[in-house]
């Protein structure tokens, strides 16, 4: 299959200058996309740091608005941490495809001989690595200032690490659908937030269960199942949505 396509390619080369060459397979393209996105994101430190600062700021608002009482805060801390992390992840979504759309490199991604599904998965992986994972690592520190009961810190970080991966995948569908729109930001949250609810329920539920001393494995297993399902299905929807946004 592969060799035949290559031979037809070489036949074309004789006739005319080919538009593109089949250099390297799927893994090369995925690796190149990963490296490119990582480099770009690390050069724009602000975009990586802003969601984290936002996360910390929102967490600061709650004790001011509700009550500085540690006992009260301890009760609501799991939910607050999860909602604030979810909103921070949501805020970072708009930039996922935006700059690539603006400078035209998204079109190149669509034209690439490698499947768009795999390449968009690579982009989402970088997004999670630089927003979801830092949020998960930072959450325990914010847990301390919310007087989160001991014993739930590891579960908080783990549930956020698992959950934000699903959030990035689901959110990327919304980001891909709205990337062609001039002011897609609010619309993006309207589309994506209802779909985030299952992850929120089991993520916050895992931390709650850890505090109460119940088993957390059921919650974490379901978070993992949600991640597996979105890993399987979301890339197809992301690729289809990107095609709609570019061609439309």
């Amino acid at each position: 299959m592969h060799s035949s396509s290559q031979s037809s390619e070489t036949n074309q080369q004789v006739l005319a200058v080919p538009l593109r060459e089949h250099k390297g397979g799927l893994m090369t393209a995925v690796k190149a996309t990963l490296m490119r996105d990582l480099t770009l994101m690390l050069r724009r430190r602000g975009e990586v740091l802003n969601p984290l600062v936002f996360f910390a700021l929102v967490i600061t608002l709650f004790p001011i608005a509700i009550s500085p009482d540690p006992e009260l805060l301890a009760v609501i801390a799991p939910g607050l941490l999860w909602v604030a992390a979810l909103l921070a992840a949501l805020l970072s979504l708009d930039s996922l495809f935006r700059s690539d759309y603006d400078d035209g490199s998204l079109e190149q991604l669509l034209l690439a001989p490698q499947p768009l599904v795999a390449l968009s998965l690579a982009k989402v992986a970088v997004h999670w690595l630089l927003t979801g994972l830092p949020l998960a690592l930072m959450a325990p520190i914010l847990g301390i200032i919310l007087a989160l009961p001991a014993g739930s810190y590891a579960v908080l970080a783990l549930s956020l690490a698992l959950g934000t991966a699903s959030l990035s995948l689901i959110g990327a569908i919304g980001a891909a659908l709205t990337v062609g729109l001039a002011r897609g930001g609010v619309l993006l949250s309207l589309l994506v937030l209802p779909l985030y609810i299952p992850v929120l329920i089991f993520g916050a539920g895992a931390v709650q269960a850890a505090i109460l001393g119940d088993g957390v494995s059921a919650h974490l297993a379901i978070l993992g199942a949600l991640l597996a399902a979105s890993l399987m299905l979301a890339p197809w929807a992301i690729a289809a949505s990107l095609r709609i946004s570019i061609n439309g």
Partner: protein
């Protein structure tokens, strides 16, 4: 079979066949809803616990049924549109969305009104109310996304993708909300388990549900016809049709 589907895909053919089907569904809807309402509101016996307030069920349950069915119908239409590029399917999906949102709102509102006599409050974070509320947001998202695009083709395809993503998520959302609710369930507010409904109570309910479905089909046919005329306004057959009617009016 395939010939039939391809015929159905042509807006002109659909416009003709729906004109013939439409009156039947309107008649069925009117007959069933009038019968069901009269029977349910006036003749069905009052509930021994809830008294007459239970009669909201005759609006609440059909609306809730429709709210969920319309989303599925919308996603199926979206799939048909994406796979076979049948434009009529997308037109139907476009007109279904506001109707589905309206039905979800009716279900929520009637649920809230029903909550006052049974729970003593307008709103409870009940599992079913919560998933209905999320369903309403999903509908609003689909409607907003369709409205946000300037190109109609992009709008159609984007709304189709979102409807399909939504329909995969609806069962997941439903089960997670159920789980969430059983973990947080406040003991004092539960509906006490009722005995199975007697026949004279559920029969009008079945009639109402069928009536609501007929109403939905009739309304969708009618609005799809208007949508066909709007989108195909520059086609010859639509212009001939309009000119013919103008001549008739003279």
């Amino acid at each position: 079979m395939w010939a039939f589907i391809h015929k159905l895909g042509s807006p002109k053919w659909f416009y003709g066949i729906s004109a013939k089907l439409q009156p039947w569904f309107w008649a069925a809807a009117a007959l069933l809803i009038v019968t069901g309402s009269l029977w349910g509101l006036a003749f069905a016996p009052a509930d021994y616990q809830q008294g007459n307030s239970f009669r909201i069920i005759y609006v609440h349950v059909p609306a809730a049924f429709l709210a969920q069915s319309i989303f599925i119908a919308m996603a199926v239409s979206g799939l048909v549109f994406m796979v076979w590029k049948i434009k009529v399917a997308d037109m139907a999906a476009a007109v279904m969305a506001p109707l589905g949102a309206a039905m979800t709102f009716v279900a929520l509102f009637s649920g809230a009104v029903w909550g006052v006599p049974t729970w003593g409050t307008w709103w409870m974070w009940d599992a079913r109310l919560t998933s209905m509320l999320i369903l309403l947001f999903l509908y609003l998202g689909v409607i907003a996304l369709r409205g946000a695009f300037t190109s109609r083709d992009s709008a159609s395809r984007a709304a189709s993708v979102l409807a399909m993503v939504g329909v995969i998520n609806i069962p997941i959302i439903k089960y997670s909300v159920d789980w969430w609710y059983t973990l947080h369930q406040p003991a004092s507010f539960t509906l006490t388990s009722r005995p199975a409904m007697p026949t004279e109570m559920w029969l009008p309910l079945v009639i109402m549900v069928l009536g609501f479905y007929s109403f939905f089909i009739a309304l969708t046919l009618m609005r799809t016809r208007s949508e066909i005329l709007r989108r195909e306004a520059n086609k010859r057959w639509v212009q001939d049709l309009v000119n013919g009617q103008v001549e008739e009016a003279r």
